[in-house]
Subunit: 429 residues, 4 copies
Amino acid sequence: MLPWRRLALPAQHARSFSCTARHREIRHISELPPRTIPSYIQSPANTLLSLQWPSPPRNILVTKKKRTPNITESVVEFTSHIRSTYPSINIVFEPETAQELHRQLPFPVYTYKKAGQLSDRTDLVCTLGGDGTLLRASSLFSHADSVPPVLSFAMGTIGFLGEFKFREYKRAFREVYMSGAPDTYSTLSDSLGATPPTPATSPDDPLDRPLSYADIRGKAMGSNRTARILLRNRLKVGVFGPDGKRIGSVEGAADTYALNEVTLHRGSSPHLKIIDVYINNRFLTEAVADGMIISSPTGSTAYSLSSGGSIVHPLVPSICLTPICPRSLSFRPLVLPAETPITLRLGKKNRGREVEVSIDGNTITEKLGTGMEVRIGGEVVKRDARGWEGGVPSIVRGTSGKEDIAEDHWVGGLNALLKFNYPFGDQES
Amino acid sequence: MLPWRRLALPAQHARSFSCTARHREIRHISELPPRTIPSYIQSPANTLLSLQWPSPPRNILVTKKKRTPNITESVVEFTSHIRSTYPSINIVFEPETAQELHRQLPFPVYTYKKAGQLSDRTDLVCTLGGDGTLLRASSLFSHADSVPPVLSFAMGTIGFLGEFKFREYKRAFREVYMSGAPDTYSTLSDSLGATPPTPATSPDDPLDRPLSYADIRGKAMGSNRTARILLRNRLKVGVFGPDGKRIGSVEGAADTYALNEVTLHRGSSPHLKIIDVYINNRFLTEAVADGMIISSPTGSTAYSLSSGGSIVHPLVPSICLTPICPRSLSFRPLVLPAETPITLRLGKKNRGREVEVSIDGNTITEKLGTGMEVRIGGEVVKRDARGWEGGVPSIVRGTSGKEDIAEDHWVGGLNALLKFNYPFGDQES
Amino acid sequence: MLPWRRLALPAQHARSFSCTARHREIRHISELPPRTIPSYIQSPANTLLSLQWPSPPRNILVTKKKRTPNITESVVEFTSHIRSTYPSINIVFEPETAQELHRQLPFPVYTYKKAGQLSDRTDLVCTLGGDGTLLRASSLFSHADSVPPVLSFAMGTIGFLGEFKFREYKRAFREVYMSGAPDTYSTLSDSLGATPPTPATSPDDPLDRPLSYADIRGKAMGSNRTARILLRNRLKVGVFGPDGKRIGSVEGAADTYALNEVTLHRGSSPHLKIIDVYINNRFLTEAVADGMIISSPTGSTAYSLSSGGSIVHPLVPSICLTPICPRSLSFRPLVLPAETPITLRLGKKNRGREVEVSIDGNTITEKLGTGMEVRIGGEVVKRDARGWEGGVPSIVRGTSGKEDIAEDHWVGGLNALLKFNYPFGDQES
Amino acid sequence: MLPWRRLALPAQHARSFSCTARHREIRHISELPPRTIPSYIQSPANTLLSLQWPSPPRNILVTKKKRTPNITESVVEFTSHIRSTYPSINIVFEPETAQELHRQLPFPVYTYKKAGQLSDRTDLVCTLGGDGTLLRASSLFSHADSVPPVLSFAMGTIGFLGEFKFREYKRAFREVYMSGAPDTYSTLSDSLGATPPTPATSPDDPLDRPLSYADIRGKAMGSNRTARILLRNRLKVGVFGPDGKRIGSVEGAADTYALNEVTLHRGSSPHLKIIDVYINNRFLTEAVADGMIISSPTGSTAYSLSSGGSIVHPLVPSICLTPICPRSLSFRPLVLPAETPITLRLGKKNRGREVEVSIDGNTITEKLGTGMEVRIGGEVVKRDARGWEGGVPSIVRGTSGKEDIAEDHWVGGLNALLKFNYPFGDQES
């Protein structure tokens, strides 16, 4: 069994689609081969998981911060590099980006009409921007149970989720691409470095190429040098009317996933909102406040932090409940088990229909009024016989070769970004 | 296999020990049969576990708050009731209590010389007092990996850990005692109510009696009516000198378990302490503060709460790191995964040997100085093939017959004891 | 000189206005005699001031919470009592209330078209409702340097500003009305209790009546029994466009006074706002936050408290600067001297015109954008040769006869309303 | 009237004291001329006061951080400079410092036996060290109503009170020394620069020298260039036994002044303390806590800040009441008027005599027990006919020539020292 040599989908399928002007065109994502799903391997010495591809990833979704010219340039540089270095890779863009960039790129790009089409065709997500960009990328999978790994580059903006600097992109991508590749093939690839890896008859359509790490130029990373994965658990959110019917859902009846938090807020309404909080279907308290934040551990360093919540490590299976400006001296933030069902209900004491519900910073429903409910459940990230399930697999800065020192990405973020426990004193003197 | 009918230890063993004045005497715990270890059963509908005895518990350790006359009276009432209702039970006291009470009680009491002898002979712990009493009872098992279930009665004092009111003691104890008993035997017991359950030849030594639920008078609770168990994970604590050697350990080389928290504090020293904090063996931050609290989720409502920490549900597998009066505006409390190793080291900047280490409110080491370390690891509560392991099995107020409503004990505690989110307003008007 | 016997304005002025159907009519406030301005006397033993009328107050503005039927009934009861007990008093309503109530009342009511007309004709303000009602009453004088004393009744709603319960209204009003009246006249009034105080020829128009405490039935309060005044200092607020021109002002070029606070808030905008804060015309910090609260000490128990601010006693001459959900771990609330000029400027980093400015809970300007400024100055309450100046003279619960125990109104509010330092524990057990 | 030319005390007084080995000797402070008391002038454009000497200051107390060799060197450099540049100045040291340094210095030094002797002979205090050094210097006047101006140099240690860097000492001292000197004399001094300012017959005893600014070499500062004074109000503290008698007072029956704060703390006692808090002689609340901090506005950035208190500007006439680790969710810090009398009483619920009272970080009384009281009153800083009274006149970094920009010292301290509102983000990227 040699999964690493598995061939790509038959070339004729793709060929029949467009025969001329193959460059610079936009194709539909359905033409791509189905998704390659990686495994996540746990090692006793590390709380992070190791990414392991059964075969090299081919379909890469690249998202970017909007309306920022220098980031657009970086996307061109990044995707051009990937296409030239890893010829079997296909680039997927969001529709707007595909429209904006396809003429500048010497290869076809793929896109979709509905975000729901992405989850079956995306092997890997790369984001260039800030935390907002990553949250938006995550939202493209907000109705999917299984999210591809996400490699995020911070583009000069402040962020806790953007792990890598853009100047590291070649090495970072290579580490992800090669993650889990067997040493033998890597070595082979290496020794073959002199011979041209690309067969002459095969032009630039990745779908025509055999899929193998043997194609890859350059030195292998070694089997120990895997990309590190942090499975960030999300929140499942549903909004329901007084009649118990689901409302505010973009795509049908399903819950929406949030990576950072769900927020109820008064918005422009001057009045305090009265929100009944239930946990485990049991009344907990009546919050009189500007709003309420239900956050994942990942979101504990976002809005919840601004509102007074503790900092919760992303590997603590938990949900944070943090009030926004409560009219009480004694509403201390709560940290609950990840699987706790939480219901926020707008009781009869509220005047008007003036509450907004936001997911990861985007308002999904306005004008919520009496009797309406937001029901939240934590996504449970667990390992069963088939491997790990759930969560957003985020590629984080590993600690290669130093197995005893794990998770510097989080400690580093606390100190460098949040200025955690920043010491008093006049550095100058 | 009918474990419920298993006989008690051979009577001759006990008889040879003391032949006269059997009442009012103090015996050594080693005379007792070995510990009966219960199972904890998980049900899909409830986050709490069900207590299940393989055979009725026999060795009951009863601890009480010291120097409080009315609680002493309650202990006499409680143990007298237990002995008369459940004749096969033996009462174990702490040495001081045994000395104080054995003359007032019409049955022998057991005690020990070293707390380490308790864990092999104690089936169940009952505490009468406040949280301090329960913490002290827990400390008797602070070097034991396996702690017996704990049934705690709050005696008029404020407490988050004392689940039951003393006036409930008959029913509460019965529920614990019968928990998991098969219905058939209960029914049998019930139908046999008319016949005297105690054989005439057997006087009052429980060790002479056959061990069976059939002896128990009164109505059975039914197999659904089990006691609810919350496995509270503890912290493992070791203190080490600058030479890396363990210090401050009461009983040899082992770590000490803490149920609530480990605290480093300046004590009477006027100077701020400088504590280097490492997590996962990686430097996190230099705390300049009055002290530092490392707490379990159970302890999150104790000292950590006073010091600004969030409230963490006891089922969140986590450790809380909360500074005490830090000289920084930005030292937000942290919640870390339960298995995170944490080291607190006193760096060279500290003057003198002036730091105290306390476990659950008791100072275990004073005069800690430069180079000394406190190493803390969370106890991992997990289920493997042999059942649940780790934690202090705390019996909490269940929700019999209402399987869909779990964990009211915690919500109740928040609202009734902590006055969580207490609303503004003049109730009177 | 006997100011207490000073006559009312010549009767012919009022008579010429309306000759028939004098009841149930709405008159214009300009018909009323000019305002009677009281003095506030400081005593060494009390931090509160004593109210002293030069002559009995005549023009009473009564405001009420809107759309609350039982409060409307109370207004009818209250004003009817005042008119029958103190015949020389005239009742002024807000236009909406005048329209709503004038048919139910057996006496003429006065009203105005522009709130600016009030300050010259109002001797005393009585509010029936909650804090919102008092804030609204205060806003009627938000462009006036001198505010009449305010007597506020809490109508079953929670409030920190409503001092008196409605059931106390007869006694409370009498204490205010008589405050500072010389004993001799009080005694005289008392001895004349048997004779009808109202001359037969004078019907029910207060403007026809001589103004004297001698008319008042019932026992005098004694000269020591004065109403207690707390001068609550306000904030002066101006909003300015990028061109430096004043905007958002309702009535011309003047600053607006706030009793509680001025708030900048993102409203429905999802983006954090970037607010440059200047104090004393010097750059202090760049706040990245949901918003910013500048509050008076009176307002320190309102929005600022919900947002994490300290509780500041209303007699501390200060301004509080409290951020709303700041994206920083180290933005501790500030307390500044009352006279500190503060400028909040929306810098160029803000996207869009999406900031709202609110005064005492009412949005005065939306859509503030880049370059706009809110300039705030504390109102300085000071005593000069002419007496006390500035502030809203709030009548608070005094401590008659116990001169050594001052300010119970504030301590009482902390404990009864805010549940300050509410103790842990199960009261029931 | 030319006070600036007033002569020194008759020389014979000093001469009779020691006739040989005049250098390197320690003299008693009582030999010095009486204190020169400056005026503090308020200007409309500045919230800080201007220092104005009636005649040049002569008696300078110099204090330093102990056991820090490089600071000792700086003291030698500093005092040598002062003596050579301003020959009429006498240097006063604390006894320990006098003993340590007098052999290294080419001039006599003065000292005292009891700190109470200082207040009549000290014109100016200079401190070299950190905040602790300044607090200790302040404590030398902790029983004096009138404190000399304090010029403090931060010696590489973190501090909010140390205004100047040591490298600025020449200019900073000159600005203080010349503050308020008339321009004419300055000019004169300047033009006389060529002629030797020191008469030949007068050796190096300052007491023999005429006192005049004319002696001073170098350019004058100009009359606008005055030193800026911030009058920091202190707290008056008394400790009383259950019998109402004063205890714990070092020097007789008087109250002690605190510059930063008074603290009650459990010290090494593991038990929470129960402290009844009275304000204005009225019961406010029962604090159950590790301790309680009563701080001045100056102290609001010290222990109170670490314990969660707001930052209060030193010109807000107030007292801060901040609990240390209270067992309550709702004990928000309070800011009270400066003149509020506060009593902290240890009620009967406390076990043992285990509370410590500290003033500005120094424990003054241990083992406080049931019935004992700490009574605190704010020092009222006020201006009457004779000028400003009360407070510690702290020389702060002024804003010469920019009268419209005041108080940069405080804003600067917030940002540079406390890292107030330190922004998120990776500065490096």
